[in-house]
Symmetry: C2
Subunit: 412 residues, 2 copies
């Protein structure tokens, strides 16, 4: 409504229909992630996806969704394509319009790979109810600001409080739950549906009521390089060779080692100095390590292992979803339980007594590294839970399933 009178614009609304699209085929259902009213992208029962975008003057329009799909121009200037069947779950995707990598204007946008992508949800045929809104009591999720002494900046986290929190006086245990590379504190709420998953588990009495604190992994002290989670293509040095086919930020960088420097250490320091005290001072939280869990996906899993294994006096529950602290499968490196992770596994009896749950989850399509790690831990006498999501890759459906399996194991 920029600079316009609302009445005038609404009057115009009845005269023009510049971006109208025809109805989708009756057996192609609009994706649940579309903006209100958008018929495309739509998903067929066999998981093919049809997309449509207006680009009347373009000479090439492509969709990047598990590969690149060339769209075809219609007489009305709309480009369409139907993709092969997609894997079930949530997928980031984007369009390439004459070399410009952009989000599809027909969907809500999702922060991943450092920018606001489009997203599509390929529903599971059965069993997807656990991450969807059901007719059960719902908790709420809070956008909580706090000032970090460590980073000297205001930070925002999402905090899920379970049904009944607002009207009870009870105290609750806390799960600290981390996103992955290129994502932010919105990921577990928006892509992951952590709130629905816990609402449903709590209603079924499968999980204890708990708080979930979802923070942003990006924590840098003044002067530290904060670029790891940035859209690295935006603002870096000029490219030696433009690669227009690459998603903004998806695989561009400044050459720095992403896991070097103090990145994980700064987050851990910030967590102990700022985040946990804020949560425990502002919310009704049960104290002590047996009421505190940490888990994360991908890089967030690596952060989880880095933070918790060095601080077992503070955490009794640990979860890595498609990401942990490595193991024998990672690049063929030797993994020695006596020395790995600062020797935390060297005394299995002591470790098993302290760590109530050590959870390793992975999608079956992601490869054997996590299974190898789990087996090596078991061989070393370290109790652990290995969870494999059938038929899913390094994506949010794997991580929703991980959370759904992990949360019931907590605080028992």
């Amino acid at each position: 409504m920029k600079g316009a009178n609302v009445m005038r614009t609404l009057a115009l609304a009845s005269l023009a229909c510049g971006f109208c699209w025809g109805q989708a085929a009756s057996d192609c259902k609009p994706s649940t992630l579309n903006i209100p009213g958008a018929q495309y992208p739509c998903v067929y029962s066999d998981n093919r996806v049809t997309l449509r975008v207006m680009a009347p003057d373009a000479k090439q329009v492509q969709v990047r969704m598990a590969g690149t799909h060339n769209m075809t121009r219609g007489a009305d200037g709309a480009w369409t394509v139907t993709t092969p069947p997609q894997v079930v779950g949530f997928h980031y995707y984007n369009l390439v319009v004459d070399g410009a990598q952009v989000a599809d204007p027909a969907t809500y946008t999702f922060f991943g790979s450092g920018w606001l992508n489009s997203g599509i949800e390929i529903p599971e045929k059965t069993g997807g109810e656990y991450y969807q809104a059901q007719n059960v009591p719902h908790g709420d999720t809070r956008l909580q600001w706090y000032f970090s002494k460590v980073t000297q900046k205001w930070r925002r986290c999402f905090i899920y409080t379970p049904p009944g929190y607002n009207t009870s006086k009870a105290k609750y245990p806390v799960l600290y739950l981390m996103h992955g590379w290129g994502e932010d504190e919105t990921g577990w709420h928006i892509q992951g549906h952590a709130d629905y998953i816990l609402d449903n588990l709590i209603a079924a009495k499968k999980a204890k009521p708990m708080l979930i604190v979802m923070d942003n992994l990006n924590a840098a002290k003044p002067g530290e390089d904060a670029s790891l989670f940035n859209a690295r293509g935006f603002g870096g040095p000029a490219p030696a060779k433009p690669e227009p086919g690459r998603a903004p930020g998806a695989a561009a960088g400044r050459g720095a080692s992403p896991f070097g420097a103090n990145f994980g250490a700064t987050f851990t320091e910030m967590m102990f100095t700022d985040l946990i005290p804020m949560a425990e001072n502002n919310y009704r939280v049960l104290a002590g390590r047996e009421n505190r869990a940490m888990a994360g996906l991908s890089m967030g899993g690596m952060q989880t292992f880095t933070t918790t294994l060095a601080n077992l006096d503070r955490f009794a529950y640990i979860g890595g979803f498609s990401g942990s602290s490595g193991g024998p499968g990672r690049g063929g490196a030797t993994w020695d339980p006596k020395t790995a992770s600062g020797g935390v596994y060297a005394d299995p009896a002591a470790f098993n007594k302290k760590v109530k749950v050590l959870f390793l989850g992975i999608g079956s399509v992601e490869g054997p590294n996590t299974k190898n790690f789990s087996d090596a831990l078991t061989k070393a006498g370290i109790k652990n839970v290995y969870f494999e999501s059938p038929g899913t890759a390094h994506e949010w459906l794997t991580w929703r399933r991980c959370l759904n399996d992990f949360a019931p194991r907590l605080f028992k």
Copy 2:
């Protein structure tokens, strides 16, 4: 990280820089709404804006930001333009790449005109602190789900709770605050910064601590037309004449009268049946009309007047920001205080006793209608507050200023 191993992708990150951009001119500061790391769009001290987008194969790229600006292609495939000085405040904008209207991938996205636009913030030279995070106690904002008996759907609203709410036992008054056409329940939090505005007013003891409930105007019963807030271009009938230059949804429609049918009535019924009971049952809320305010911007202001004027037994404070219930300036129609709005103004003494604050706000660039309405009300003996935001149009800076002026008048 779709289908990819995080380690592999991060390794690639050091090899390629497909979308890297050069540094912005030193006196051009990245917009505060850019995604992390993005140097463009940037804003000069005289409010000119430079934008840059990679589109190596495009033949025309334009920016729609208070007019249409043709971008120029550089040898590296990046298109750039510097716009004339922009008005201060928040502006939706978008790109047109060979006829495809899309968001700029360099910024966060904002729900307006029915889709996820890009946004740019042109900072005020002085006086903008009130809507920015300051080193004061912060409330939190809750994403609250509730089931509507009226619409038979789960709905989400945002609820701001003031600093101290979590740790006190006090009860608070409530402001119900509505967005405008094509926006949703996220608008007042994300574009409007209602949380910062109240945090700062409360810290300065200018406003009473209060809750703010920010709901979605889109409320339709099963079978009712819910398209008013949709991106009307997406999914409607085929266009008689494509208009590629028009923003998706901005001025496309189905020909229905946007203010007809039961649209406002259904929202009012939903508000009384579902929303207010949910808020009052789940939050510590003071009962009674003198602890209940309603305000809104543009169409949300019209909804406010529709809802409150017919229900003065439930509301004592009313605010219309660039939108109300009309008046003599609107289309030259005769406005008669004896009969307008169901005759609610016919007895000025009774009205003035019931309505503690009747607030009419507007941007000075928007025209005289609101001032004319205020004058007509005054002439009819109806007390009202007229607030004019200097130099701003039908945009969010007008509405931030309205809220900043309106909130201190509440619940006194």
